[in-house]
Amino acid sequence: MFLQEFFEAAVDELRRFIEETLSVQGPTHRLRRQLRMMYGRGEVPRETFYQLLGKLEKGYYIEGELQSLHRQAVRRMEIEGRAGFHSHNREIARSLDRLAIHQAIIDETRMRLNLALSQVQTQRQWARQQADDFMQRAKAAMPDETSARALLEVRLQLLDHSHLLEQRAAALQNDLLRLEALEMRLGMYEAELMIADSRERLAREELSLLRLRQ
């Protein structure tokens, strides 16, 4: 048991070393991972998460801030009298960490999609307004049929743009639903991992109790 734990810890250290050595950004990758994990676990508020992520992208070293935030989160949990779920099974603990990271990535992706959706909708509205504007201009130019025709051609193209953007908005909304489904699956896996961990601990306790009685 001890040997296995020692081996796993050594593999973890080796993995961390390789990640930092091979990564182009150096420790950025590790810090991003750590930040995401803390956010996924609920140790960092949303606003701070994006603020620190931005700093990290700009090349700032945020290790100190992360450590301070972690300490604050631990203290807060102690005051509130709630302990975070902690598994002694390294495999399960690592899986829960991965799920926390995934949760943060999902949040980032959702933010990007929402931003893109809002831009698409704004642009679509603008194209529609422009199309209406060109319609008015065509009406005003009406005695001159050539000019009116050219303006109507522009209007049609603007309407095409608007239609294309409408389709893109629908696709983005569909993607948001996909993300929601994925998030639900993530929550399910998290619950399953916690249940499996508790059951395993219970079974182990039962077994060791029985062994003790023999």
Partner: protein
Amino acid sequence: MSLLKRIGAIFQESAHEVIEGVEDPKLSLDYSLLKLEEIRSQVNRSLIEVSAARKRLENQHAQLQAAVHKHHNQAQEAASLGRDDLARKALERRQEALTRLTALEPNLKNLDHQLGSLKESQSNLERKIALFRSKREELKVIYDASRAQVRLNETVYGISRDLADIGRVIQRAEERIEEMRSRSDAIEGLAAEGVLIDILEPGKDDVSTELAAIRRNQLIDEELARLKKPALVSSRQKMIPMQDQEPEVDSEE
């Protein structure tokens, strides 16, 4: 996730960021729009210059017409005064002005034509710029949306793959639980058969367990019976004062 997969993921992420940094169609679109706007400014400047040139020619035209008129009057006046030499001179000048006037007219027409085509170019450019601006904004938002969607697909793919891995972790935990349960059951079974000795209950086997259970049930039955007796007695004792009170209740009625 295996170590190799992780290394692959790191490389993939780095490559992705490098590619993202290199290609930015927004910049080339902005540049194209800038070029179009420069052309429009040039057309506007040309329009102003041609208009000014036309105005100058118009002024010249008016001046020449005035000169023709003036020289015509001078010639008439000189002829009436019998000064043929002066009249000839005035007519010569009038002729000269007329020649210049005739030469000026095609230039004016040419400038009118140029102005017309410049105005047409200007309105064409206005339309093109409006369309291009719309297209540029559209491409920008579509580019951002596509990037977000690519990111989403990568996220969904990566997380789904990892979830499968986590599913295997859960499965392994389940297997371990099953194994421990089986061991517990086996130990309990062996202890019940008396093969293993339970230090809390030494000398226990299946027959003795059953006998113990029967004895325990009997003991519980006896205890229950004993508990029932005093309960009956106490309930009777409680009933006596109640019987005494009954007539009072009747009398009241």
